[in-house]
């Protein structure tokens, strides 16, 4: 869901760049001095994995494809601020090196993928009664969170397009959330699978995220 150039108007471009720049500077400030020794390589591996996963498009319905976003997984395993930092690095490199998403719409893509993607689903898992409780509840919370982490950025994307005046908001919103509800379901399934695997081989990684605020 990387928005190319040519769709956003100056007001939306500035607004999105402003929000993203503000958020990322807060994220860098918050992570500064808090990173443990093991966190740095883990963030790197996470970023590389998410980059590759985002390249993998799976056919979804009606001649459309989707790909894993990974923002929720990053936020869950690393924490919101660290997750945002990793996702921002991925989105910026996709834009500058791979021509995925426009330069002018980079602010919007950061807002959708690196910011909204990381915060829109995590709160469900962070609701304390669900944390460290029965595994089934934890996993379904993760699934819901992963689903939201795709659908809410898609809705934001529709909002940005209609704020720019290139598309009517109602049709865009329905179309964007509709197709991304399906893509989000795949995101949820893959995310749950990954968490189950991590829980089997490196359960300590899940505990790291449970202790960070």
């Amino acid at each position: 869901m990387h928005i190319p150039d040519g769709f956003l108007d100056p007001k939306t471009i500035l607004l999105c760049y402003g929000i993203s720049a503000g958020w990322i500077s807060v994220a860098l400030k918050r992570t500064k001095g808090r990173l443990g020794e093991k966190m740095v390589p883990m963030m790197g591996v996470m970023g590389a994995f998410i980059f590759a996963a985002q390249m993998f498009n799976f056919p979804i319905a009606g001649g459309t494809s989707g790909h894993l976003l990974g923002s929720f997984l990053a936020a869950l395993l690393l924490g919101v601020w660290e997750g945002s930092t990793v996702m921002a690095a991925v989105v910026i490199i996709q834009c500058l090196v791979f021509q995925d998403g426009g330069l002018l719409s980079l602010g919007a893509n950061l807002l959708n993928i690196a910011i909204l993607g990381t915060i829109s689903g995590l709160w469900i898992v962070k609701l304390s009664p669900l944390r460290n409780q029965r595994k089934r509840i934890f996993l379904s919370a993760c699934g819901t969170g992963a689903w939201l982490s795709v659908v809410i950025p898609a809705a934001a994307c529709a909002g940005e397009l209609s704020l720019s005046g290139v598309a009517p908001w109602k049709t865009t919103l329905i179309a964007m959330t509709g197709i991304h509800a399906l893509i989000g379901a795949v995101e949820a399934i893959i995310t749950i699978l990954i968490i189950v695997i991590i829980d089997k081989i490196r359960p300590d990684l899940l505990r790291i995220s449970a202790t960070t605020p």
Partner: protein
């Protein structure tokens, strides 16, 4: 033990890149489909700076004819660049900590 883990990680990365280049779908993604439906997809400015600006445009390694090899190499390069960039940022963020601790221990004490 550590080198074993690193080579295992590298192997997983290689397999991932091959999987991506062989099986990834060429269909338009969710947003492209919506833009086509709305009839606004022609607004897209393919290359706002110059095509040469991007090292690996469209996730393809230029000058390599085989699409699978070209995509797999681009994926591998991308993973390496992302890993390097994130580790560099992380290392810098960690360095700030030790610098701050050394110069302003008192402040840290009050905060903590």
């Amino acid at each position: 033990m550590k080198s074993r883990r690193i080579s295992a990680g590298f192997l997983i990365a290689l397999v991932l890149c091959l999987l991506v280049s062989i099986f990834s779908s060429e269909l338009p993604d969710g947003m492209e489909m919506v833009m086509e439906k709305l009839g606004i997809s022609d607004r897209q400015q393919e290359t706002s700076p110059s095509p040469d600006f991007y090292p690996l445009p469209e996730y393809r390694f230029p000058r390599i004819k085989s699409p699978i090899a070209s995509t797999a190499l681009a994926a591998l390069a991308g993973m390496a660049v992302v890993f390097g960039a994130v580790v560099a940022i992380g290392t810098l963020l960690r360095k700030y900590k030790s610098a701050e601790k050394g110069s302003s221990d008192n402040q840290m004490g009050i905060k903590g």
